[in-house]
């Protein structure tokens, strides 16, 4: 249902209904949350075929890839949340200094209220539903605004989700920029956005008007640092993982995909040779005809990408691939060696199948290279050298660092997923999703039985001494003071 046709009224009514549902307290009960998570699980299981189909329709992802990165990941998260929910919602007791005696303190997780999730087109199911799992687990009511760039998935969510989830608490609202702008005018209790830094700024500015906290999942140029001191069989695994991290994750159109590789000069040609071999192994000789190879999402992005390699200096740096077919929105896996650092391909997030290789004299220089650029969402370091590992952790800043693999941090429920600086703010996955949609209310309980006189005015020196000792937790001194034995 396109809201553009309906105007403001129905949108207002929908939100009113969601707020009312939240006020009723229904979404706070654990049984409601569990039922919704279970329903979402059923939605995925019942509709797996159609979902894989819809993703294929929009993004051209092979069903195995779509299952791995979308349906499968969501099932994993749902199972995890269903297992852990009761533990997460329980209040956490905290320690209190003796001076507070008698009292108890706890942190009570409470839902924020009505939240909105803006998802993106490259993982049209998982980026819409993974945050929703967190929002439901935390007991919120939610609106999902799926990306209009993946229309099949968007309308699929809008039609099928209401059949499974509580329609009074969770709604899918479809639309493009106009609807998004209209939604941003509203007062939300949390905005969760996945997309580009440019739109991220717009979202946060809009949120500021209502003091709404935001989670921004943005992107950035995720580098691979390759220290080639590996055996040749290890190198093969390494390069396979890099190639997979570039072309095997929605063909580079992924926020945690590999953007470029840093390697020592002397190893560049070995690397290029191995990359070609991996491409061949994955997709065969003719990538254009290969079903496992994802196409570019739309004409706009195709043009954007094509422009990157039309820069003559960049074009000169191509060492493999480079062919395109606008009709089929196809761009070949393309490797570039040392394109100019000031060219757009090295200043903008690529988000497509180009892999620039930048050579350094020695691999230690990579920390400085990364530090001089905006903080990436992910950093991938292939090395066996513990010193280099330590150096990369302490010297560079990024949303996450993964050693000897690509993108696997995304699968771990025990690791926070999110950016820093230009790559975003806030984090989610597993318990972190729950926390992101929760306010931890500090609750301190005291009794009226015991009351310390020196807390209160009128002030005198005795009271000052008393408080001084109390803040030091000097209970012996306090005793002496009370007995009149301390000056």
């Amino acid at each position: 249902m396109a809201l553009a046709e309906l105007g403001l009224g129905p949108l207002g009514d929908s939100l009113e209904e969601l707020r009312w549902t939240f006020e009723s307290g229904k979404t706070r009960s654990i049984s409601w949350r569990k039922a919704q998570l279970q329903a979402l699980l059923n939605f995925l299981r019942d509709n797996e075929e159609q979902i894989l189909e819809a993703i294929h329709e929009d993004v051209g992802k092979h069903r195995v890839e779509a299952f791995r990165d979308e349906v499968g990941v969501l099932i994993k998260s749902l199972t995890h949340n269903l297992d852990c929910l009761e533990k997460w919602v329980a209040p956490k007791k905290t320690k209190l200094p003796l001076a507070f005696f008698p009292a108890t303190a706890e942190l009570l997780p409470e839902p924020l209220g009505l939240v909105i999730i803006f998802s993106s087109w490259n993982f049209p199911m998982s980026l819409a539903l993974e945050p929703l799992i967190g929002a439901i687990s935390a007991g919120n009511t939610a609106v999902i605004k799926p990306s209009e760039i993946s229309p099949t998935c968007s309308s699929f969510l809008a039609t099928v989700i209401p059949r499974y989830l509580d329609n009074k608490a969770i709604k899918v609202i479809e639309g493009g920029a106009a609807i998004a702008a209209q939604l941003l005018e509203e007062k939300w209790d949390k905005i969760f956005f996945t997309g580009s830094p440019r739109v991220g700024r717009i979202v946060m500015s809009a949120a500021a008007k209502h003091l709404t906290p935001v989670t921004l999942e943005l992107g950035g140029k995720c580098p691979v640092v390759l220290d080639t001191r590996f055996s040749s069989s290890e190198m093969e695994v390494v390069v396979k993982r890099i190639a997979w991290g570039k072309w095997g994750l929605c063909n580079g159109q992924s926020c945690i995909g590999v953007d470029y590789v840093l390697v020592e000069e002397k190893s560049a040609f070995t690397l290029i040779g191995l990359l070609k071999k991996a491409i061949n192994k994955f997709y065969g000789k003719n990538t254009k005809e290969c079903n496992d190879y994802v196409r570019i999402i739309n004409e706009h992005h195709f043009e954007r990408l094509h422009k990157l390699i039309r820069d003559p200096e960049v074009a000169n740096s191509i060492v493999h691939g480079g062919s395109v077919d606008k009709e089929k929105l196809f761009i070949e896996p393309t490797i570039l060696l040392n394109p100019p650092l000031e060219s757009e391909i090295m200043t903008e997030e690529i988000f497509g199948p180009f892999l620039p290789i930048i050579t350094l004299k020695n691999i230690q220089q990579s920390a400085g290279f990364i530090k001089s650029r905006p903080k990436p969402l992910a950093l991938y370091v292939f090395t066996k050298d513990e010193t280099l590992k330590k150096l990369m952790i302490s010297q560079t800043s990024s949303g996450s660092i993964t050693f000897n693999d690509v993108a696997f941090q995304f699968l771990s429920d025990s690791l926070p997923f999110g950016g820093v600086g230009q790559s975003g703010m806030g984090r989610y996955h597993g318990k972190f999703s729950f926390d992101e949609f929760t306010h931890e209310k500090a609750v301190l309980r005291r009794t009226l039985l015991l009351d310390l006189e020196p807390r209160y005015p009128p002030w005198n020196d005795f009271k000052l001494k008393f408080i001084r000792l109390l803040y030091k937790y000097d209970y012996f001194g306090l005793l002496l003071l009370l007995l009149g034995l301390k000056r």
């Binding site: 942190l107 003091l211 993964t402 209310k441 009226l448």
Partner: protein, 567 residues
Amino acid sequence: MDISLIHINIMPYHASSLPLVKLVNNGKVCAPRIRNLLGDREASITPKQTHPTSLRFSWRISSSFSSATESRPIMEDEMKKMERFDSDSAASLLKELRGTFASGKTKSYEWRVQQLKNMIKMIDDNERAIMEALQQDLAKPRFESFVSEISLTKAACNHALKELKHWMKPEKAKTAITTFPSSAEIVSEPFGIVLIISAWNYPFLLSLDPVVGAIAAGNSVVLKPSEISPATSSLLAKLLEDYLDSSAVRVVEGAVAETTALLEQKWDKILYTGNGKVGRIVMAAAAKHLTPVILELGGKSPVVVDSNVNLKVSARRIAAGKWGCNNGQACIAPDYIITTKAYAPTLIDGLKNILEEFFGKDPLESKDLSRIVNSNHFSRLAKLLDEDKVSGKIVHGGQRDETRLMIAPTILLDVPEDSLIMNEEIFGPLLPIITVDKVEDSFDIIKSRSKPLAAYLFTSSKKLEKEFVENISAGGMLINDTVVHLTNPSLPFGGVGESGIGSYHGKFSFDAFSHKKAVLYRSLYGDAPVRYPPYTPGKLRILRAILDGSIIGAILALIGFGKKKLE
């Protein structure tokens, strides 16, 4: 060094009548110990350090000093530049701090510990000066200054010192079958350069408490104290310069213009304490640079009083939270009371008795009561009190003295819900009491308003307590007391909704100023072909099992026994 090289420019300060000095050494601005200048102009002046960048320093200084100093004429354009800390000065300040941060100096455990220790020494050495500044700004009683500003700041330093090693340790994270074989941890790393904009009501605590967190987390810091408490602001500027590493920790004094110049810059985190109006401006400015923010705002913090309580203790705790904390000018002070119609007279009597015990018969003469911060706030509060439908509702107090900016503790009964006093944060010594038939009716009143920073309940009923905790949303909640939850480092301090974003105190401060970096270590062994193209039905079968968390299923699929429906 040759003293004749030092030129001192005197010019009017834009925000007050006090003159400013600028010290120029051979064309370079330098930062000598201003204390020496103030104490004895004959003393040799040694610059602590010179700043090769174009950074300008400004100090407020006593006017008696001006006549006797060697000063050179001030160029008009220079005068204009000096008048305020502008975008250029902010940009060069940031550049310098970025340099320090990039050097990695602030990340070391030793540096953090040293700064925290220096801060404790700074507080110990200057206890009297701090109390005097607070006395000057707010007429804050010494005792109150000690309890709620000096001690709490010191406690925050001590707590951080004690726990820092533990906080900095990477946190091990569990890994699942999906990423097997691997190990994972979460590493806390500093954001970079953080900006802290603090408030005037607790000008010392609200400035330094966040600085403690920022330093503990290994950041560079710029502190902008409130211009509404000028004595504390300039004291902080002087003390931090003297005691802390000024290549990483700086104070910028000033008002709106200076704050605007600061907010134009790209920070890695901003913590603002103040009101929602400015909070919105801060967050909108932060959005331009995608800077995360912590907003510590206020709101109308309600106190619900049940009729079954120990009157004396309850009244005392309410009075201490309202009038004993900067005379109501605290973000977590009780704003209004809700109690039953039947109990209200008893409660009012109880409060009156306590007030006399605390502040004597004539509270305007009490040394134990803070004054109103300035005439703006005085007239704001007077306006709340003078509103037609409100002025007749005063049941206690109401005396004021505009010349001394004093307002007596004032209790009002049954003010209308649509009055000004019930629709903005009071932030002063006025305490309206709203009455309801049943104490449970208070919930709807609280829920119909924006979420407060704190909510208080006095009761001996466990049932009411449970309902209150479950139904009311607030930054923090305290049962049978007021305000003291703030002093507990194991509880996060911060708001929700209109009362703010993010929290701090204790470990929460450290976390607030740390980016939690996910670190995953994978091995190159056990590289499953299942993840790579070309994609086959068999691969789907294995993935399904792995993502379902079923080891057996995965093994079965690997050896070809998977039973689930597939393609």
